[in-house]
Every structure is written in structure tokens, then in C-alpha cells.
Symmetry: C2
Subunit: 363 residues, 2 copies
């Protein structure tokens, strides 16, 4: 593949996503080429897992080290909090960032979401560059959603603030634990299910385990998966319609993730279970088979468990599904597949859902 | 005046500003007419000075009281804090506001800025309606700036999030203490200085004290003053150029306000001193008289003191002027007047400024 640069048109500006091995070590020159190397200061935010692996490489790329400040947050979802937000804001002010400064998010979705929200609200908004280091973060690098959690709900505080540039070094994924590969790969598969069956067969062909993936394959995988999300988001940035398709597998997935206790199952592991269920439910709903077993067998081979954990209470899951929605209307919506690549947002009956979840759904 | 509705074109949407006596008591029907009365919930944020005066009137206008929640913050600038932000966010979540809910800011600039920032970041942004109850808030109702303070600086955390509607009831200003009239009126006069001398002469003619202003005069005053700000902001929402003119009187004003200790001098009282200085400095800079004495005499009649408080250290003021800027470049910029109505942003020499501040500036 030659085309390693994708462009995302957000309502605010168009920005490039560069997927390129070794790009991390030329971070500064990429910024110079595609963004604002004239920034008054650079503020790199990362976590304490990523810092020892990649922070030096990133900082080394800058010619004037005096202009670079760094902030290392504790690894994990708990850092997406108002108290961490306040700490990072304070550091940004102490480091005398101004409106012409640039924030750089070096890490996974947690770093990206927090650092992006800092950028969105520092002096009413300054630009930021996203440097994703997880597979899952290919998802968060498109769409402009940034934010933090509140004890009463995930991602409840936030903004739309697209990055001005995304620099994705697939080599950085090499240090990712298997569990994190699996978490991110579920979103890759999701993009196949909702938009492009040929992508699923390509994945089956190219990725037989999370070890020894070639840089070429990984680069292509990232680009193809990102393209699906770009296409959806560009058509519906404001989440009025088809952007909902990205929730395929997520309605039940979120409920399972929450019910297990966040951190027990990764996001992707829970979404994988949600996708299998959504396909099964779709088959009932539309009355025809989707021939998806081959993909689910493939996922099992990659280590996914696709069953709802047996200790989970179905009523609790349904309760969570109803709570989870950011709209408090009492209807339950599910993304179903008419066929692979053709999603629909469907309002489903609670009893039908319950029957299907308990395995008692008729045809 | 017939035209009591102004429209502001922001980059996000166009919104109406309605200036109309008694509009507070028809708050809901105004929302119905101009905004989203179908909102899932209404969340009115106000302060504990305004609440006993106007909260009941506002709530009474809603046909379904169940859909209305209220939150009362302590009066004063200290409420523009991250900890108050967190409290109001928590209340919004507890009240089950969703993406279709509407926030209503009932109060002065403090309430407007805080409530607007809540709206900007609640579930990545929901609409809000501004119901200004101070004269100064006619300024904050245009421009879309919302935010809170950080111990290291005022308004350092925030966003651009224009309201979807502004409902201004001039009658509510009747309970405003004289000090707050004077604070807001300085911005009114500023709008005359930077854009429209005929407005200054009109003010001189119509407003001889802050008592007994007729509703007609007050309505016209608000509309004319708001129009000036609208014209500037529409041309330069992003603060790249002429929006700086709105800082006329503010460079020194902010420094004086800060040096006095926030709350000692009102914003407008400090800005008034800053304007007088900026005019005097302009006359030196451009080498001709601006014939502004009549306006400054008028201001003195209204109770403004236009001298830099004698106990203030000029070096400290200059230090603050240099710190205050959101850009940390070391240059000092001042808005000067070539003539009344013709502002220019000028880079000034620190020594020149100092000489003028100490009253030793030659011609
Ligand atoms: N903004 C969006 O649109 C969007 C989309 C999806 C997910 N998210 C958010 O993203 C978060 C999850 O993302 P995530 O899975 O990347 O989480 P994460 O940032 O916590 O990363 C997962 C783990 O991998 C570690 N890690 C990161 N890069 C590494 C590397 N190269 N080598 C070794 N370890 C590495 C991290 O330290 C962490 O322990 C959630 O908070 C979710 O809400 C946001
Ligand atoms: N966002 C912007 O563009 C913008 C522009 C200018 C100022 N501001 C902000 O606005 C704030 C100052 O605004 P303000 O002067 O309105 O402050 P404020 O909201 O504190 O109001 C001033 C005082 O008047 C009281 N009050 C309000 N309405 C009243 C009424 N009708 N009757 C009696 N008392 C009443 C308040 O309780 C308060 O004590 C500052 O925080 C400043 O940063 C923002």
C-alpha cells in the first residue's frame, strides 16, 4: 500500500492520519510537515506504561528540548477523571502553555481522551496531535470525541475536538499485551461487519494470531479499519443517524463490560460477545441466516470467548442497557444486520430481547 | 424601538437575542417560540442573590414543573471554579439530563460563564439559553465564550459555546445595585468609544443617573450596545484581529482589577480607569486631541473614579499587563484610538508605557 495518509473532514477542519512505521521517531518533522511546528510550546501527555517505552523517542525528535514539556498520568481508565484533568490543567498553566501551544497525546484511548479534553478546554481550545499507541486507539483517533468520566457515568464530560493531526506508528503496537490486541481487534472486526465483508475475509487470511504480524499487514489493517470509521463519521459527525452503526455490538457489550466491573473484561472482549449476540438476534429478527459462523470461529481461534459470562444476571444486563443510553427515553435500540455490511438501527421489544438473551428466543 | 430581536451569526449557529421587558415571566413561551421547548428536561442554574428575586418567576413560566430542575450556586466570582463545575455536573447527571436537555443560565456573567461551560461539556455539549440579569452580562451574551477560572488565571478553562437563545428582561436590572450598574455601564461606554460616538452622546443625553431609567431607554441602550459587540464578533469570532478592539481599556483595567484584589473594584470600574488612560495614551501616540473630556466628565458624574488608585505600584501593574496576555510573547499590545470610533491594536514600548503611567510621559 502506498497511501499511508488519510484525510478526515471534520466540521472544524480537515486533518491527516498518517499510518507509518517508525513515524514516532520523526514526530517533530511530521508535525512540521502537517501541523504547527511553530507552536510556542509542546506538551506531551502520556501514561506510565507508555512513558518508559516511547516518551524518550518522541521527545528526542524535537530539535529544541526547552520547548517540550511532558506529563505522565497513571495508566488506566481511572485517570479519565476530573481530578486528573485538574492536575494536567495545572501543569499546562505552570508550563506556561498559551493559545499557540500544541498538546500531544502519546498513548491509548485513555491518554487520547483526557489529553484531547484538556486541549478542547485549555484557554477555550488549543490544537492537539494524537499519537495512538494501542490498536483500540485507531477508533478514537477518528470522530473528535474527547472527554473524561464522572462517577455517575463513562464519558459524561467531554467535547467534540478533532485532533489537528494523527501520527500512528504501527511499530509501537508491538509492545502491546495480547489482551489489548484483542480489545482493539474487536473494533476492527466490527468495521468489517458493518461495512465491508471483504475486509473480514482479508483479516481471516492475513491475521492468524496477534504474534508476528508484518508491518505491511498491520499498516493496511489500520488504514482499512480507519477508513470505515472515517466514512461513517464524515457522513454523520453529529450522531444524528448512521453514526449509530458504530455501536454494533456495543449495546450489549457495554452492559457486559459494566456488569463484569470495568477492567475485568476489556472493552473489545465485551464488544465481541455483543457482536455475536447481535448477529444471532439479527438472524431471528430478519428471519434469515447471515453465514457469520466462520467469522465467529475465527474470533474464537484468536482467543475471544463469545458467550455471555454464565454468572451474569440477564435482568441486570437489560437494566444496564436501558440506563446506558445517553437519551433517557425508555426505548431500546439495537444495531442489527440485514446482511453483513448492511446495518440498521432497530427499536426492539424488551421481552423479545430478554427471550433471546436467556436463549429462549423462538423463531 | 420596534426591533427588540437581534440575531447573532456564530460559526455554530445563528441565535436570537430578545431584549424585552417582562420576558422573564414568559421564559417558557419564548423558548417555545425561538428554541427547543421539546427538550427532555430544563435545568436552570442561578446564584443565591438572583434566586430569591427571579427563580420563581422563571420556573412559573413552565407548564410542566416536573421537567424543570434548578441549581443555586453561591453568588460571586469564586463560583467560577472547577469544584463548583463538578458539583453542577453531578447535579445535572443526578437530574438525568440527557443530550436533548436544555440548560438555562439565569444570572450575571458568573452564572452565564459557568452554566455555559457546563452546557459546552455535558455529554460533549448540549444547548443552553442565557437569561442575563446584570448589565455587564449584555457583554457575555454575545461571543460564545464560556468558562471558569483556575487559581493560576481567570477564564483559563473554557470553550466557545454560543447560547441557542438569549432572553434579556431589562426589568430584571431594576434590582441591580449601583455598583453593578457602574460595572456594566463601562462596557456600554466602551462600545461607544470603539465604534460609535453618536452612541456616547445619546447615552449622555438619556442616562443621567442609574436611577429611574425608563424601560424604553434601557431596552434601546441594551440593543445598541449589543449590536456593537455583535458586529465585532461576527467579523472575527476566532479572535484573530479586530475582536481585540473589545479589549479597549482592558489591558490596564485587568491589571488594576487584579492588583486591587478581585472584588475590590468591579470589572467595569477598573475598565473605566483603563479607558481614560488609553485615551490619554492615544492622544500622545497619535499626537492629537480626542475631545473625550466631556465623556470622562460624564463618567465622573455617574460615580466613576478615573484615576489609577494612588497606592498602586506602576511596576506591578506593568508586570501584570505582561502576565495577563494569553500569549506569552513578551510584547505589550494596547488598543488605542486614532479617533473616537476608530480603534487600532498597537504594540507599545514598555518604557513609553511606564512613563505615561507614572504621569511623566512627554509628547
Ligand atoms: N474518543 C473515542 O472516540 C473513543 C473510542 C473508543 C474508545 N475510547 C476510549 O478509549 C479508552 C480505551 O482505549 P485503550 O484500550 O487504548 O486504553 P488505554 O489507553 O488504557 O490502553 C490500554 C493499555 O495499554 C497500555 N499501552 C498503551 N500503549 C501501549 C504500548 N504501545 N505498549 C504496551 N502497552 C501499551 C496502556 O498503558 C494501558 O494499560 C476508553 O477510555 C474508551 O472510552 C474513546
Ligand atoms: N463570557 C464573556 O464573554 C464575558 C464577558 C464579560 C464578562 N464575563 C464574566 O462575567 C463575570 C462578571 O459578570 P457580572 O458582573 O454579571 O457578575 P455576577 O454574575 O457576579 O453579577 C454581579 C452581582 O450582581 C448580582 N446580581 C445579578 N443579577 C442581579 C439582579 N438582577 N439584581 C440584583 N443583583 C443581581 C450577582 O448575584 C452578583 O452579586 C466575570 O466572571 C467575567 O469574567 C464574561
Amino acid at each position: 500500500m502506498d497511501n499511508k495518509v488519510l484525510y478526515v473532514e471534520s466540521s472544524k477542519h480537515t486533518y491527516p492520519i498518517i499510518v507509518e512505521p517508525e513515524s514516532l521517531s520523526s514526530l517533530y518533522s511530521k508535525i512540521e510537515e502537517h501541523s504547527d511546528s511553530k507552536a510556542s510550546r509542546f506538551f506531551i501527555i502520556t501514561d506510565d506504561t507508555v512513558a518508559p517505552l516511547y516518551l524518550d523517542i518522541a521527545v528526542s525528535s524535537f530539535p529544541i528540548k526547552d520547548k517540550v514539556d511532558t506529563y505522565v498520568i497513571p495508566t488506566g481508565e481511572a485517570s479519565k477523571s476530573l481530578s486528573m484533568y485538574e492536575k494536567v490543567m495545572t501543569a499546562a498553566l505552570e508550563n506556561k502553555l498559551d493559545r499557540k501551544s500544541l498538546i500531544i497525546a502519546l498513548g491509548g484511548g485513555v491518554v487520547g481522551d483526557l489529553a484531547g479534553f484538556i486541549a478542547a478546554t485549555y484557554m477555550r481550545g488549543i490544537p492537539f496531535v494524537q499519537v495512538p499507541t494501542t490498536l483500540l486507539a485507531h477508533d478514537s483517533s477518528v470522530g473528535g470525541k474527547v472527554g473524561i468520566n464522572h462517577p455517575l457515568g463513562k464519558n459524561m464530560i467531554g467535547a467534540f475536538h478533532p485532533p489537528s493531526l494523527v501520527i500512528y506508528d504501527p511499530k509501537a503496537l508491538m509492545s502491546l499485551p495480547e489482551k489489548e490486541w484483542r480489545s482493539g481487534f474487536a473494533e476492527v472486526i466490527k468495521h468489517g461487519f458493518i461495512a465491508d465483508e471483504s475486509f473480514l475475509t482479508w483479516l481471516q487470511d492475513k491475521i492468524v494470531s496477534f504474534q508476528n504480524i508484518s508491518m505491511d499487514v498491520l499498516t493496511e489493517l489500520l488504514i482499512r479499519s480507519i477508513k470505515v470509521k472515517v466514512a461513517v463519521v464524515e457522513q454523520d459527525e453529529e450522531e444524528k443517524g448512521i453514526r449509530a452503526y458504530l455501536n454494533f455490538g456495543h449495546t450489549l457489550g457495554h452492559a457486559i463490560e459494566g456488569e463484569a466491573g470495568y477492567g475485568q473484561l476489556t472493552h473489545g472482549e465485551a464488544v465481541a460477545i455483543g457482536m455475536e449476540f447481535a448477529v444471532r438476534f439479527s438472524e431471528k429478527y430478519y428471519g434469515h441466516q447471515l453465514e457469520a459462523d466462520k467469522y465467529f470461529n475465527y474470533m474464537k481461534d484468536l482467543g475471544y470467548s463469545l458467550d455471555i459470562p454464565s454468572d451474569m444476571d440477564i435482568n441486570q444486563l437489560i437494566h444496564r442497557i436501558k440506563l446506558d443510553k445517553k437519551s433517557h427515553s425508555s426505548k431500546i435500540h439495537f444495531v442489527l444486520l440485514q446482511k453483513i455490511g448492511s446495518p440498521k438501527l432497530v427499536e426492539v421489544n424488551e421481552n423479545l430481547l430478554k427471550a433471546e438473551l436467556t436463549g429462549k428466543g423462538g423463531v
